[in-house]
Structure formats: C-alpha cells, structure tokens
C-alpha cells in the first residue's frame, strides 16, 4: 500500500475555468472548514503558483472550477502588517503560536488599482493545511489597501 507523501509524483487533475486542467499535488490541498466569507460551501482549495518571483498566487477551489481568488503575501506590501489571531482561532487552526501562521490577503481590482483586503486576511497553518478567513474587528487594515495603481485602462485583463 502506498502512502502519499508531499513531493511524490502522485498527481490529481483539477478542472479550472481560468487555467484549464491543472495537475496538482493532492497532499497539498488546503482545507477551510468554514469556507471563505460568502462562499461557505467551498472548503477545499489549491494554492497555484504562477512563477518563482511573483508575489501573487491563485487560491483555486477544487469543488468549483470557476471559483478562484488572487492572493498575496500582505507583509511584502505593507511592512508592519500583523494579524491579531485570537486564542480560539489559533486552537482551531492547530497552531501554538501566531508567528507560525502563514498569512494571505485576497486581491481585488478597485477603482483603477490593485488592492488587498487586509481587514479579512486568510490565515493558514502550513503544517496541517488548514485555513480560516479572519474578520479583524479593529480598523488596522482596510478592505481595499492599495497595492499598485494601474496605469491607464490597459489593465491585465486577459489571461
């Protein structure tokens, strides 16, 4: 009997609207027990990495080929950005320390700019591959933190 370990050649094909059929490593799926806000039905995602140097990733739903979010590492953009993770949330993620969490922000296009939602960050336990989207109650971050102002209208619209 095979045990599937990360990095092995075992792959699973996932249908996606944006990228066609993608071969993913099934040991690296991320599970969001509550889904994301407004998308509670979709629990299982794969993080897709476009290239080595990029700071953007896609969080692709396994259950819905159409559902995918661009995410980024918010700390690369907003120095000093930290996420206050409550004790109950740490427990739920199976994390002992907040510093061990991997943080993502969902990216959006708003009013001619690429923005990141720092008010509702995604917190992942990389070891257990569990994630939750937090709702930060204090107004430390914005839901539309501007990352890049887009020049003119020639936005990266087409894939």
């Amino acid at each position: 009997m095979h045990r599937i370990t990360p990095g092995t050649e075992f792959h699973m094909k996932v249908r996606t609207t944006r990228f066609g059929e993608v071969e993913i490593d099934p040991t690296r799926l991320l599970v969001f027990p509550h889904g994301l806000l407004g998308f509670a039905r979709f629990r299982t995602f794969a993080l897709l990495q476009p290239d080595d140097r990029g700071v953007f990733y896609w969080l692709q739903s396994i259950e819905d080929p159409e559902l995918a979010f661009v995410v980024t590492d918010p700390t690369a953009w907003a120095t000093g950005y930290t996420v206050p993770i409550r004790a109950g949330e740490l427990t739920e993620l199976g994390l002992e320390r907040a510093e061990d969490a991997t943080i993502f922000a969902i990216v959006n296009r708003r009013d001619g700019a690429i923005t990141a939602n720092l008010q509702g960050p995604i917190v992942v336990n990389a070891a257990s591959r569990t994630g939750i989207q937090l709702v930060l109650s204090d107004r430390t971050g914005s839901t539309r933190h501007e990352l890049v102002r887009l020049p003119g209208t020639a936005v990266a619209q087409s894939a």
Binding site: R28, L37, P50, V55, E92, R129
Partner: protein, 92 residues
C-alpha cells in the same frame, strides 16, 4: 425579530453560553459586552459585510497579475514558505 427592553448592566442569554450585556448607554450609542466561547465568532456586521462584498468582487477577478509594475519582490524565506504550500505551478 424578538425585541427586548433592557436596562444598563442587564443582559440577555442566547443559548447556554452566549451572554450579551448592556454595558453603557449614551445618547444613540449602546456599548455591548459579549461573553461567548472562543468558537463563536463575534463581529461588527458592517465589517463582516464589507469583507463578504470584497470576496464576491475578488472572485470575479481575471487575468495575470504576475508582472505588475511596482510589485515588490518577496523575502526569500517567505517565498520558500509559500512555495511549500503551493499544490501546483501554473504557466499563466
């Protein structure tokens, strides 16, 4: 909707383990205290709604964002940590 009148420092119970206390009333502002187990998420509704709306809009995003001008490069350690979570590489 159930509507209850409460005085300052009075409380209501929701189920066995959620308590909402009227802490202070000043003019049109009421300060509420919530005692709830850690598993119960408590949010200001407008923040919750704004994040939900942002998610809905973000889900319709298309296109390649990898080569945006002005994008920072990531610290090597963080990039490696995120790569270890990535389930696949895509050429997009």
């Amino acid at each position: 909707m159930l509507v209850l009148s409460r005085h300052c420092e009075e409380a209501i119970m929701i189920g066995d383990d959620v308590e909402i206390v009227i802490v202070d009333i000043r003019g049109d502002k009421v300060r509420l205290g919530v005692n709830a187990p850690a598993r119960v998420a408590v949010h200001r509704k407008e923040i919750y709604e704004s994040i939900r709306e942002e998610n809905a809009q973000a889900a319709s995003l298309r296109g390649v964002l990898g080569s945006l001008p002005g994008a920072p490069s990531m610290a090597h350690q963080r990039a490696a940590a995120i790569s270890s979570i990535a389930a696949a590489r895509i050429s997009a």
